[in-house]
Every structure is written in structure tokens, then in C-alpha cells.
Symmetry: C2
Subunit: 205 residues, 2 copies
DNA sequence: TGGGAAAATGACCAATCAGTCATTGTAGTG
DNA sequence: CACTACAATGACTGATTGGTCATTTTCCCA
């Protein structure tokens, strides 16, 4: 019996993959790559170590898949919501708030994601490159919004790349600060203020 | 024979400590904490492993000392130069440019420094707290400058903490981007633009 | 229900490496 | 020069852990 070409076996395998990624994300976020042991990830997923190796060929691969699946979901969501926004102001605001919401729903993922920035230089080249790609996608999204804004006159003439980077980076900062528990303000306040500051900085007057 | 109460032995010991920290910074920056072996650090410093343990009690301690000495120097320099600046505008600009210069002279240190942000949550509590202290010192410096600006009317009324954080974070972003080699623009351009954006965002009009 | 295939298991192996310490080298002193 | 106190060494050890694979369990179909 198959359903859309997928056998029951495929469904089970897919479920296992997702289960393992979830466990991996949890443990990697808690301990970091090196301190996390494959045994612990397996047990968190309710499996034996050997089983885990039937689904992922190495610890590194597992790590990268856990990171990548989160990045893919984040980027897709950002692209969807930002592109749906009407004007530049809303697009920029949406970028910030969407990312913050995603953070609140996926703290584990963000811990891994931001830890990776500090590490990218020690990882193998192929890894680094894929990682960078996701960064570029986000920058590109903001750049497009800014370009529209400049064309329509709501945004002053600015170097696109640098401005987009500043916006992505400010958002990053708010999240990183909260990950480290160095802040007690409400997240909406932070977001609102960050947007105000940004808009004052880039809007035409 | 002593000089200001320090024997020749003390001088040699101090020199060894500095030598080892330098080597440690180099290797940790290159490989990250876990991939760096104590053996490699010792050999980079031109010593045997056992000797290194005469000066630092553990790999972790060595790591923290390498990080801390750099942080101390950075903070001292920032405080000196920023407080010497006359008006708020110059203070903010000085904060940014001084940090960028320090980065260009101490790439190794910054690699460790920024890698640590992603890791702070997995390190022991005492470590985390000391690390945070240096962050607070920088935030405080910028906050004071902003407060002066508000008092004198050059800066609009803003939430100090959040604004200071945004400024520190923007600077961080410029540096991080360059560490990762994701950028080809001249650093002075980046700095000038970043300041322009910030000042437009915070100045009274 | 029985048999065969696929999935799951966890004891095991090999490699790595932080930290130790018995031994060797050296500098200062009388 | 001889002696001592301290600095330096690096072979060694114990602990950890990524990855393997022979064995056991589960599942499915005839």
C-alpha cells in the first residue's frame, strides 16, 4: 500500500529523521557541538546510538542538518511574510518582528544558529559556504525592500548592502542579548524601539 | 638584585606568561577552544606541555586569561579615548573607530571574543559573569555619552540602554562580517556609513 | 503461524588528549 | 668548581567518545 508514491516505510523513516533532528537541536543548543555526545542525543530521541547512525552518517552531518532545516524554515517564512507586506516601512518592520517571533518559537535553533557565527571560520569550507548562503538570502530580502523604498522615495539614497547588513545585524543583536539572558525588557518594546531607530536613520525627510 | 621589588625571576615569569598568552590566542583563534590542543599551544610558544602547566593550571584557565587580557586592554583603551572626546558626536564616533582599530591590530583576540558570545551559555557561571562584566563596561561608556548628549540637547530623548546596545551591536556587526571575510569594502567606508546611520537615528532635529 | 528481511541495539574498539610526575637541565651562589 | 634549588621536559595514563557491527527484536506477508 502506498500513498502518493511513499510507502509506510518512507513515512516512518521521515518521522525518525525529524525526531532525531529535534533531539539533536535540543542537546546541541544545551551543550554546544563538542560537549554534546551522540549517545545523549540518541537517548533524548529515545533511540540507541547505533540507530541514529542508520539515519545520519556522522555527528557533524547531524549538526549541520539540524542547523540547516531551521535556517531553511526561517528564510522561507521571512521571505513569505516580507514579500507579502505592501510598503517598505512595513517590510522592514515585518522582517524584524517575524524573526523575533521565530526566535521565540525556536530558541534551541537560534542558540545553534548564533553559536555558528562565532565558529564559521573553523569549520570546513563547504559547510561555511552553505551557511553563508542563508545569510545572503536574508540580506537580499532586506536589500530588495530598501531598493523599492528608494525608488518610491520613502527611503533616502543609501548604500544598499551596508544598510541591509545593519538591519539584519540589529535584529541579530536583540535576539542574541535575550539568548544570553542579559535583558529584562519586553521583546515588543525592544522591537518597536529598534524599528524607530532604524527608520529615523534611513527614511527620507 | 631587585628592581621595584621585582626579582629577575619575576620578570622572566611575567615574560613567559605573556608569551604563552600570545601563543594561546593564536591557536585558539585558529582552531577554536576544542580543536586547539594544549600541545600545539605549548609548541607554538616554544615550550613543552609540562612547562605550560607551570604557568596556567588548566586549558580553560589559559583560554579565559587569553580572552580576559585582551578584553581588559580593549576596554581600557575605549574608556580612555571616548572619555577624552569633547562632544557626544565625537564620543560615539570615537567608540566605533577605536574598536575597529583595535580589531585590525588584534584579529586573533576578536575571533576568540566573538566566538565566545555564541558559547557563553555553555560555560560555567563564574566565567559567564566575568565575561558579561566587560560587555557592561562598554554599554556603560556609550550610555554616559548619550546621556550627556541628551542633557546638552544634541541627542533626542531615547531609551539609553537600548540605544547604547544598538550602537555596540552595530560595531560588533561590522567587525564580525570582516572576520568572516564576507565583505570587500574598505573599513573606513563601513565605519563612516555606520556612524551616519546611527547619528541620523539618534540626533535631535 | 512461520520465516525471512529490515530495523534496532549496545558492547566494543581505536583514537584523542588534558593533565601528571619522575627525570633532566640550568642558573645562581659561596 | 660544587652544590642546590628551581625550571623545563615529554613519556605516560586515565577518561572520554565517535563510530562499528555481530546479535537481537520487530514487522510484514504468504
Amino acid at each position: 500500500m502506498t500513498f502518493r508514491g511513499r510507502t509506510k516505510k518512507d513515512v516512518v523513516a521521515e518521522f525518525r529523521h525529524a525526531e532525531i533532528l529535534d533531539a539533536a537541536r535540543k542537546v546541541f543548543a544545551d551543550k554546544g557541538f563538542n560537549e554534546a555526545s551522540v549517545d545523549e542525543i540518541a537517548h533524548t530521541a529515545g533511540l540507541a546510538k547505533g540507530t541514529l547512525y542508520l539515519y545520519y552518517p556522522s555527528k557533524r552531518d547531524l549538526y549541520w542538518e539540524a542547523l540547516k532545516s531551521g535556517l531553511e524554515a526561517l528564510c522561507t517564512r521571512l521571505e513569505g511574510e516580507v514579500q507579502a507586506a505592501r510598503d517598505t516601512e512595513t517590510k522592514i518592520r515585518t522582517f524584524m518582528t517575524t524573526k523575533l517571533s521565530y526566535f521565540e518559537e525556536n530558541r534551541d535553533f537560534f542558540k545553534i544558529y548564533y553559536a555558528e557565527f562565532g565558529h564559521a571560520s573553523v569549520h570546513p569550507a563547504y559547510f561555511h559556504k552553505d551557511f553563508q548562503e542563508y545569510h545572503v538570502r536574508q540580506i537580499h530580502l532586506v536589500k530588495s525592500a530598501l531598493q523599492d523604498g528608494i525608488r518610491h522615495g520613502s527611503v533616502r539614497d543609501l548604500p544598499l548592502e551596508a544598510t541591509a547588513f545593519a538591519i539584519v545585524n540589529l535584529t541579530r543583536g536583540i535576539i542574541a542579548q535575550r539568548l544570553l539572558g542579559w535583558v529584562s525588557t519586553r521583546i515588543e518594546e525592544d522591537a518597536a524601539f529598534m524599528f524607530d531607530l532604524t527608520w529615523k536613520g534611513i527614511a527620507r525627510r
